[in-house]
Symmetry: C2
Subunit: 226 residues, 2 copies
DNA sequence: TTAAAAATTTGATTTAAATCAAGGAAAAAT
DNA sequence: ATTTTTCCTTGATTTAAATCAAATTTTTAA
């Protein structure tokens, strides 16, 4: 069947299940429901009843918080192979954040109880889950570090540095719009625009549309860790 | 033996183990090493080899990040019953943060592999672990929300509101110094001082030393959720 | 108890980034 | 292909909070 194949191939690539044996992967694929979304659709809202968690099969998703005044802070940007809303497995009754698509998206949905039953029968998955949670914890702590201990410029360079795989890939393409990057970095689009201009003037990097070129990776490396 | 008794009573109170059966609690207590620290001692530093995790038996501990310039952001403040560095159970090789005591402290240390062996033998603990991780994730997301979507004043009131148990306890005592609160809220001591003065003038609260009195809980509630 | 050190408060000034405003470029829809 | 809408850029101004500086209070230690 086409569905199982689709899900299976992404399951294997996902960090959560990549080392799982074939029989478990097949069970997981059977267990999953495939969901399709258009661009800019809400997947779930904060406070909504949490029924299960998701694996991104295709497209980009953002996880974010809204202030009462409508200001948005992106917590995570997710792509193929990434898992989100896994917090339900820790007993959360409602989603504590918003989730929205940034493109056409295909998701695998895992109903909480069904998945936990599988974990009970195959406890070795629990270790994968712990690793997944630990990874998210580390990401969030890094996010706090970036937002509180770094200035806007440093945050931007740090973000681009990560996208370039620590400078190994000095030319690459942004996978989300600049306004979304601003929301992730906790700055306004205006500030982002000005920073890009400044770094261009300083001949540190070049950005044309979504194409990025790091001209002086050494300078960037120094700047983000000093 | 005195040691086992000490550890056991706190284990029962901790959210991680509170619902565990007696036999597991006893095993856990046997497995733990009790460590004692003076005030302002480093427990571990960022990048240090992660050998296990900790349960606070007595005293206060802070988990924090440092910028290259020495600026500090507190991630968590922990007291009796709280667990920290649990990230090692997800496979982390090094601690990603600093941990330091804020008072005389007694800790139970659980060596990673010993603990994981116990989890293997008693997989029901894994669910507790997932809940622990999920709780931390939620706390960190809330921290990001506070730091990015709220102003300094709102963050302070939000913090005090939580200490007052959502206003149920309008008189209470701060368990850490004001300068540490400032580091947690991501502001300077000067700003904290001025905010307290302002809220006094507005007759919203009174703070004398470590004694806090919320004069107008309704106003606070409104302020932090509007 | 008193001296020394540390933490807190208050004042003056600076600064990083937000906001407000408008024009230009790119993307999407017709 | 052209219009419409959304996104991005640039400029002028404001603002929240940081920094710098110094006095005062609290805590710790001799």
């Amino acid at each position: 069947m086409n569905k199982s194949f689709d899900v299976l191939s992404t399951l294997k690539k996902s960090s959560l299940f990549q080392n799982a044996p074939q029989n478990i992967l097949t069970e997981l694929a059977e267990l999953a429901t495939v969901l399709k979304f258009d661009k800019n659709q809400e997947i779930f809202g904060e406070g909504e009843k949490a029924l299960g968690f998701f694996l991104v099969l295709d497209g980009m998703v953002k996880i974010y918080k809204l202030s009462p005044k409508g200001k948005e802070q992106i917590i995570h940007i997710l792509g193929p192979g990434d898992v989100f809303a896994e917090i339900v497995l820790g007993g959360a009754e409602t989603y504590p954040v918003y989730a929205q698509t940034l493109s056409k998206v295909k998701l695998a949905f895992f109903e909480k109880q069904k998945f936990l039953n599988l974990v009970q029968r195959k406890p070795e998955i629990a270790l994968n889950l712990l690793a997944l949670f630990a990874g998210k914890l580390k990401t969030l702590v890094k996010q706090i570090e970036n937002l509180t201990l770094k200035g806007a410029g440093e945050r931007l360079l740090s973000y681009l540095w990560d996208l370039s795989k620590e400078g190994k890939q000095s030319i690459f393409t942004l996978n989300i719009s600049k306004s979304q990057i601003a929301l992730l970095l906790g700055i306004t689009p205006e500030t982002l625009s000005r920073l890009i201009q400044k770094f261009k003037d300083e001949e540190i990097l070049e950005i044309k549309g979504k194409k990025v070129k790091l001209i002086n990776p050494e300078k960037i490396k120094n700047f983000i860790s000093s």
